[in-house]
Subunit: 206 residues, 2 copies
């Protein structure tokens, strides 16, 4: 940029800060900064307050690791849920997708990531030990033993390898380990479904 | 979302606030919020401070309307620039693109928008009267009369109509009105055009 343009320090600092958001390059960051300053300063201040509030108050549920503002999240506290079922998902977004189906009434364990050795994300970072501790925990009146772990990590290379590692770690424990079924998505036409998916659906046919 | 997930108030507020950024839908906003809370809380706080700082300190240059933290921006104050040349651009990003060519040494007038009647953006919103006042201003020692207005609005329908309206408004005034040459590909925005093309268009201005 020319000398005149780089001297607007606050604007440059804002553009750099916006670039720390995932998927935001320098052009997007500039467009966001210009938009907020030109058309939506209340929005800028609202975002600033929301960031501060969330950064200070959002923490991880002691039981399932999802984001919450309490010691234990409302889902884990819900007495109507089946506490013998534990669904393992990669992220709160995946957990929300499971919830939207209305088909699951057990509890969750949210890895908050997936195994990715190249990015330095190993078993510690996804809380594998906490998951094992949860499965091994002595049953209590309000928290019976886990009888089934449902692996609902994504069907990507990293999600599959994460599911594999968890399966290995759970071997020898008195718990059933299942994986979401692979198959043809509802509403899709075979012609447009990738071959690997069709092959799996064929193998897993009921 | 299920009952458990919507009860994380700070997280929901943050997702909604992020959605006010241009080009950010609900999925992107969620991904941004999860990323900041899981991997980059210092980045979240840094962004919060940058937003507050910019929203309170960034204003518009009294002469050219671009973003600045001073009464008059450094570009307008630069004594080495030709004050008889006034280049009209839509945005600070376009101004930055012009500056990067190194081919222009005059001053700017930044419309901070473009005519778009359907969006309620008329001549007042792009500061047409201030532009006319600037052209009509009595020459002073430090600010000679404007002898040429170079229209460098984008070569889009709205940019062309903005250029047309400014041309009409400047008719009858003792000032030459030129337009960037059509070396710039039709339908594209200056911000994304390669520097050589912009430089040629400047030399070939009509």
């Amino acid at each position: 940029m020319g000398s005149g343009v780089t001297q607007h320090v606050s604007l440059e600092v804002l553009v750099q800060a916006l670039r720390r958001l995932p998927g935001v390059g320098v052009r997007s960051a500039q467009r966001m900064a210009y938009h907020l300053l030109q058309h939506d300063r209340p929005g800028a201040l609202q975002l600033a307050r929301a960031l501060e509030q969330a950064a200070s108050s959002v923490r991880h549920c002691a039981l399932c690791h999802t984001f919450t503002e309490d010691e234990i999240c409302p889902t884990c506290l819900d007495p109507r849920r089946d506490r013998g079922l534990l669904c393992v998902v990669e992220s709160p977004a995946d957990q929300a997708a499971m919830e939207r189906t209305g088909a699951y009434k057990g509890l969750y364990f949210v890895l908050m990531g997936k195994l990715s050795p190249l990015d330095g994300i190993g078993p510690n970072e996804i809380g594998l030990q906490q998951l094992l501790d949860r499965v091994d925990a002595q049953p209590e009146a309000h928290m019976p033993a886990v009888r089934e772990v449902i692996l609902a990590t994504n069907f990507t290379a990293e999600g599959e390898s994460t599911a594999h590692v968890i399966t290995q770690a759970l071997k020898g424990r008195h718990v059933q380990v299942t994986r979401l079924a692979r198959g043809v998505p509802i509403g899709s036409e075979l012609e447009y479904v990738d071959l690997g998916t069709i092959a799996h659906a064929l193998v897993d046919r009921r």
